[in-house]
Amino acid sequence: MTIEIIIQAVISGILMGCIYALIAAGLSLIFGLMGIVNFAHGEHLMLSMFFSFWLWTLLGLDPIFSLPIVLTILAISGIFTHYFLIRFILKAKMLVQICATFGLSVFLRSLAQFLWTPDFRNVKNPLIEGRIEVAGIFIGQPQLFASFVCLLSFLFLYLFITKTETGLALQATAQDYQAAETLGINSNKIFALGWAIGLGCVGIAGSMMSNYFFIFPDVGINFALYAFVAVALGGFGSILGSLIAGLIVGLIESLGGLLIDPSYKLLYVFFIYLIIVIYRPQGLFGK
């Protein structure tokens, strides 16, 4: 095993990690805001991949250009999810909350299977494809571009939450929504906004991944699992934590696959999850 292979693994781990981080950020934001884990997160990712696939197949729009459209569709579906489902279960028992989002995930996945069959599809001849070689190390261009976009969206998300007034209102609601309501913040709108942003993140990630990933109804499950782990690792509700945790998960996955056995990737990630939640339940960066 040469040093190049290890560097190769590290780089592909980081590139994948950026995607996990953005998916996890959406999950983390929603959890931090209202204490609900979106078990349908992977299915939303799958939907966004399908949307950009169909925009490419039917309208010939490359995933890069259809990104704003997919982002908007996902954000609107986030608002819909809040108004038609989450709004009613905010005060329900945790079991009901888990089952409701779980039910949504089952519904979306089987809807995709029903509408589009379980076939594997991919975007043929996208604008960005191929790979570049730097000192004997190969980097896939779509992957590189995807992680660049993900990091950029992360920056925007961070600036939005910490610098704008709406972002501050979001933070206030996350801390104590009743207190925020007395200050004139409409918590219901903020929750809907949280869902819009959370699923918007997924929309960006899915749209970028449709460039180089197979698209099929079950594609979301694995990403959702990694996102759950990343969120637990970074601390539920911590946006910055999920960036670092996403990168760690990506690195563990690719290095574990390289050094031990690639078919057990999920097991390494799961092992890390178990250690973290048992010894540091608040995550690496949680309060």
């Binding site: 884990v37 009613f88 039910g103 519904f107 097991l267 999850y273």
Partner: protein, 340 residues
Amino acid sequence: MIDHTNLLLTEAKQESLWPINFKFIYIIVIAIVILILFPFSKPQDFHIHLMIMVFLYAVMSQSWNVIAGFSGQISLGHVVFFGIGGYTSSFLFIEYGLTPWIGILIGMFFSIIVAILIGIPMLRLSGHYFAIATLLIGFSFQIIFQRWDLIGAASGLWIPLIWENSWFNLQFHDSKIPYYYIFLTIFILTYLFAWLLYKSKIGFKLRAIRDDPQASASLGISVSQYKIIAFIISAAIISPMGSLFAQYILVIDPERMFSFEISIIILLIVVMGGIGNVWGPLLGTIILIPLSEYSRIYFGGTGGSIDLLIYGLLIMIICIFRPEGLISLIPNKLIRKIKV
């Protein structure tokens, strides 16, 4: 909260453990007699199959009800014990010719060991953390079994056919009726057991833990011990169903025996019927399993997603309007009359 826990415990002390309510027992006995006589009405094979599936899922969802409904731990990877049960009995039969009846017991034993091994580190987790960890465990087991060459890896195990019906080998090729009676027996025993468990001291302690772990700990209930007990009981209930299901279909593979879908379906059944209620899982099964079997007929093999589509929709509706499940639609008066 403490009041509530106290109330449950005093209730437990006052009520006799064996309430005799003849009206209720009559209903149960009549139902059982009808179920025993059902094969004599010369039903189609499909109807027998449908009943077997109903019994299978009724027991599996009761197992999930014990862990999630009684003790409040939401396990999303419960299929693990189903798979272990199925694989143990099939492997022992193929390799050593051991009768599946003993294989079932050994499978239960392994499931209990795994339940303890999983349960101990997971005791510290609660809520979302527990649910996510069990989800990951379910997928991890599937991955391990898919790569495990000894037990056929991804292609699975084929139980050798023995061309004569035999109770010893638990194989019947002429008709499904013997399977029907086996599943029926397990079904009755499981529900009897769950009912007794619900009324027992353990049952009350588990519900106290579910409602308020800290208050129950302050009352001297060993929370972690009882959580493990619930996990063990639940694993022991579902594991034989894996073995029997393997005998019923005779070909098992990790895709089927560790299918994420099974974990989902038993969760949906329990939530739909009424979680934490002994009869909730039965009600949920009676509604959902025929729905899925019939949709498979009308929409063909790939129609497998139609039933899940409807399940998902129904479960969201239930969560919004009836979080206690459909069993709460039965008027209280009626429940009090046949109160168990």
